[in-house]
Symmetry: C2
Subunit: 321 residues, 2 copies
């Protein structure tokens, strides 16, 4: 069995091989540029770990993992166009560097390349993988649409936000795990359990992300604290604060959402603390993590096989950065 | 056996059933809007005809045909964004009506829906279909990139343009036919022949399209004659004229490409006629059509089975509009 970091290194080694041909140069320099930026490769490793929970890692799992990582990169390229984001991971986004049109097309061709890897899967489960992948891919697009819809709304209910995050972020983690489990020969019940594990883990991760943006240690967090606040982004924190703050704080918060005073971040954080949003978020994160781990515990394999996934959950969720 | 128009009607009937769920409304009103605009449905019918060349139409062929039509619509939505086109088939494009972001996402989800239909194919040939479809989809993106690349270049060689059209337009027609043939149980040689038939037919169609834009009867053509000339679009005609015109005419043509006098269309057409581009294009179209039909003749099935495809070729290529 392998740890997350072992598999991450092994995956990166394979993934760094050229995915695309050389020409048309204007198209493939954009795809190559984005792939070499790198990333944590969490999703493909989840696929490999999902496989290894049940069996030794099979060649098909590497193909499925590659498909998932390519699909994830496709979503990033297109999301960056939609968000007009100038930077990702500290470097220029594809559309900033190569223009919107080429970025659009680079995303398209990357999604098709994901299906190219799925078509290489040899086992009898190819259709199951394809159907799970398609359903998930559609959900990710739906999540992105909801995210955009929410930008123009003042109030969004907690459950609506939870559902958006589930679609936009969690289902792909869950899908990665289940695809690995399918390739590993898992039965239906075990597949559902690893899927739920991934889903809850993804939600916990987003709660943490929202928390760290407001309350993280700027030095460890690696990006500007309060970025979500300055961008008026809907987060678990903002949505909860609008629900539980005193009427006076709520009105102040709504006013702050329509203005940009120099001390906006401090003022919003003060309201968050007034109504205990920080503690609430930590507790929500823990609940979601517990649910995730409960699902993992119920998977009918030897407990020892679950160690790498438990470790990964701790690494992703307990991290201070 | 069915004619093109029979199958077009039958396909439209099935295809008009709802492809997408109701929510998120902002996403799926965009996809539904575009699909109900309609179209000639040439590609899915080619898939059905490719099947019927070898066997009765199987349920899988309807799935593959639907996948192809969805993929084609995805390319139109994204191409319209890239071209900043306000209208398609006389009505607002998706991005004009719903904004660039939703159009981008509507295209994405439509491509995924194409793969959803491919995943419904039941036969043992699912992997072959998937691989052919993926290769073709990648080529279509490459063709679009080359088309954009050519916009910023003054001169493009005939073979470069031919290759771009092959990728951007012809391979999808060829793929549709071959997918039908695969489902119909055709052997490798017959598959290659119907693929080549589709490829040449697509090129002939584009030559005709370029020709009609310059020399078509405005009343029958249904759109402004000279649109390509006003847009300085690379066409078979322009590329050939730049190669064969007298030095004086060539210089005038290059000057016209950098300016927009009121009589631009007339002047360019006069140069086209001076060097016989009109006759050259008609002859090139005929050569390509002959090549297409030669490939069809070689397909090892009874000649009577080829009647609908021969008729379709005549309908597409001999049309005056």
């Amino acid at each position: 069995m392998h740890s997350f970091s072992d598999l991450s290194a092994l995956f990166n080694e394979r993934f760094s091989e050229k995915q695309f041909p050389a020409t048309p140069e204007n198209l493939y320099q954009a795809t190559d540029y984005f792939l070499q930026i790198g990333g944590k490769r969490i999703r493909p490793v989840l696929c490999l770990l999902g496989n290894e929970l049940f069996d030794e890692i099979r060649p098909d799992a590497w193909s499925a993992a590659t498909a998932i990582e390519l699909f994830h990169n496709f979503t990033l390229i297109h999301d960056d166009i939609m968000d007009k984001a100038p930077l990702r991971r500290g470097v220029q986004t594809v559309h900033t560097r190569f223009g919107d049109n080429t970025a659009l097309l680079a995303g398209d061709v990357m999604m098709i390349q994901a299906y190219h890897w799925l078509s290489k899967v040899s086992g009898s489960y190819q259709t199951s993988l394809l159907q799970l992948f398609n359903r998930t891919a559609t959900e990710v697009c739906e999540g992105q649409q909801l995210d955009m819809d929410f930008e123009t709304r003042v109030e969004v209910a907690h459950d609506e936000y939870l559902n958006m995050i589930k679609l936009k972020t969690s289902v792909l983690l869950a899908c990665a795990l289940q695809m690995g489990a399918i390739i590993g020969g898992a039965g239906q019940r075990n597949q559902e359990l690893v899927y739920s594990f991934g889903l809850q883990l993804g939600l916990a991760f987003q709660v943490q992300d929202d928390y760290l943006d407001a309350f993280g240690d700027p030095e460890k967090f690696g990006k500007q604290v309060g970025g979500d606040i300055l961008a008026n982004k809907k987060t678990f924190l903002l949505i909860h604060a609008l629900q539980c703050a005193s009427e006076k704080d709520k009105q102040t918060l709504l006013l702050l959402l329509r203005s940009n005073p120099a001390d906006k971040v401090e003022k919003v954080l003060a309201i968050y603390k007034n109504c205990g949003v920080d503690q609430w978020a930590l507790s929500l994160k823990q609940q979601l993590l517990d649910k995730a781990l409960e699902n993992l515990e119920q998977v009918a394999v030897l407990s020892a096989r679950k160690v790498p996934l438990r470790e990964l959950a701790s690494y992703l969720i307990q991290r201070e950065v």
